[in-house]
Amino acid sequence: MATDPEDLDREALLERSRAPAFKPVKRVAPEQSPETPAEKAPDPDLGHDLIRKERYTSPEFMRLEWDRIWTKVWLLGGLESDIPEPGDYICTEIGKESVLIVRQKDGGVRAFYNVCLHRGNRLRPAGISSADSFKCQYHHWEYDLDGSFLRIPDLDTFPQGAPPCRGLSEIPCDTWGSFVWFSLNPGVEPLREFLDPMPQHLDPYNFHRMALTRDVTVEWDCNWKTSVDAFNESYHVQGIHPQLLYYLHDLDIQIDCYERHNRYLIPFGTVSPRVRKPPTIPDPIKVIMKGAGIDPADYDEPLAQIRRDVQKHKRRHGAGQGKDYSRLNDDQLTDDYHYLIFPNVTLNVHADDLMLFRQRPHPTDPNRMLYDVWTFELVPDGEEPPRRPRHQTFRHGDKSIGLVLDQDAQNLPGVQAGMNSDAFKGLWIGSQELRIRHFHKVIDDYVYGPGKKPPGAT
């Protein structure tokens, strides 16, 4: 049995495993960025410990997460544009809870537990719709849009009268960035405070000018954090997305960790140093060029210049195409500004589109989750937005969600299964995966207290 660590020549292993050297990609200087900060945040010192696997697999940790994260933080509920008129509502679920987010007559939004106070029945199924009032289908208890009791049939047959409350149990609700947010924590801090500094980073993209083009929920056989982790590092590109090596720079990544949220900046429209320079412009980069209005067949400059030229071209011709890029820096015109809004919202942010993932835990099983994909496209001024797509739900494998996400999705059940093995103790995380370490540090802050580590950890 090869169990003696001394049997391994570690120097030889390192020599045959080094990351390729590369020339740094040219980035905008911080002062060249009008609004979204471009400067590198100092890397936090988060050590090199194993991230123990129990947090992905154990029902005990799942309960701790429910008590100390899901019921404490702000959560993404849906799109403001889905509830423009009074009575429009979003019914969304988190864990065992279901929430109604309702547009009020005064234009505001309020959120309530989707639970009838009579016998506990759900008032509405999950989804987006409109109502004049919320009437329980069981005994027709009826609530107004503001949650207050409207009618209780045969109230005179309840000797104790109506419940002592005003109506539905209300929870904090607010809007930011064209999204509605709610919290199961009545004492939660103001939304802006929780999101800081995300609004400063993301407002310049004008999400409210982007239209939803895909709305899909896929049931995945993995923990919700297995999914968050998968999008929090670019190290896996060489492993499962080989085609992206001809599209982006997977090694020259700027990682920035903030208080509870984090991001990385991935240069797009360039080729990874892991592959040789190809003889022609790779097809995926052609797509970027065409999007900017550059004809690849008419482009004679070296491959390395494409990213800059696309930026210049968009800057010059954006306004003429009805696209206002004035609040964005040049890198934002090509690159992936990739954010994690703690705990569960992953945003691939680009000048012309947004791909958002909301990762929700399964109500009872740590080995399962709900993966929501919302994609948005910038609607040029003067153009009609596309029709809102219908929401679709399916199980992983039933339908394709596009090559790159299929590659991620195919991989994750195996990761989850392997994490359940007795042979696996925890995640061995490298510096390319610093965002994963930061994400779990923030989880620890919530679960064990600020700055505290899990019990038993060194």
Binding site: P279, P282, D283, K286, P296, A297
Partner: protein, 253 residues
């Protein structure tokens, strides 16, 4: 078999990597003095340095063959520096693509016109040689349908017709002209290496079409080209030689 290449002067375009480079390497190994060009100065410099190890004269130039004047001037200078030209292999291609009408202009100017301009510019030198030989690089894309109706395929077909006609036209001046149609050729830094990653399905389907289950290599094409270019092939002119590992399925009578 002695190919009789020792001391011959050869000019190959687009020769810092892939098929062009393999042709230069083989001709140099057989004792030819060679001139090569490509667009990147760094890559040309590196190639010249490496090919010189064969102990022959090597001339290099960073040239955009789309620019007629620049290209012709370089050919003349290269022939002068080599002290003549016995062999010409126009190998540069704009590659495939269906982005716009511009692809047609690009393949026309780069694949077709660079070949025509090269043959015309070097013809006096090739004639003077007494063993002048032109090997035009076409493609199996010209012979059978290949995925999509790209300009590349049609322009590569034009080259075969041009090669045949030219062979008749310059035969009396002792210049032979042949063309070679390589099939899909895999090499590091080549199109198929990229396609393997960016379009795995197309790569696999192409591989399955190879009766021997593998892609061809640039060195295999280079051996065919070197033979046709050499005095050993003195009886071969106006031929189109398919070097495709059995990739094409047509019967060639």
């Amino acid at each position: 078999m002695d190919l009789g290449l020792r001391g011959k002067k050869a000019i190959v375009t687009g020769a810092t990597k892939g098929i062009g480079r393999a042709i230069v390497d083989l001709l140099a190994a057989e004792g030819c003095d060679v001139a090569l060009c490509a667009r990147s100065e760094d890559e040309v410099e590196a190639a010249v340095r490496e090919v010189k190890a064969a102990g022959v004269e090597v001339v290099g130039g960073a040239v955009n063959v789309r620019n007629a004047d620049e290209y012709k001037a370089w050919l003349e200078k290269a022939a002068e520096e080599l002290g003549g030209c016995d062999i010409f292999v126009p190998n540069v291609s704009a590659g495939g693509g269906m982005d716009s009408e511009k692809n047609w202009w690009k393949n026309f100017e780069i694949d077709v016109l660079h070949t025509v301009r090269g043959c015309e510019t070097l013809m006096p030198q090739l004639e003077k040689s007494g063993h002048g030989s032109i090997v035009i690089i076409s493609s199996t894309n010209a012979l059978e349908t290949f995925y999509v109706p790209m300009a590349y395929n049609a322009m590569k077909a034009a080259l075969i017709t041009y090669a045949k006609q030219l062979s008749q036209f310059v035969g009396k001046r002792n210049v032979r002209v042949n063309s070679v149609c390589p099939g899909p050729i895999y090499f590091e830094g080549g199109a198929w290496e990229m396609i393997k990653s960016t379009n795995a399905k197309m790569y696999e389907a192409t591989l399955r079409a190879m009766p021997n289950g593998r892609f061809g290599g640039p060195d295999e094409v280079a051996r065919v080209v070197a033979f046709l270019a050499s005095p050993a092939a003195s009886i071969v002119s106006g031929a189109n030689v398919v070097a495709d590992n059995g990739f094409t399925k047509r019967v060639q009578y």
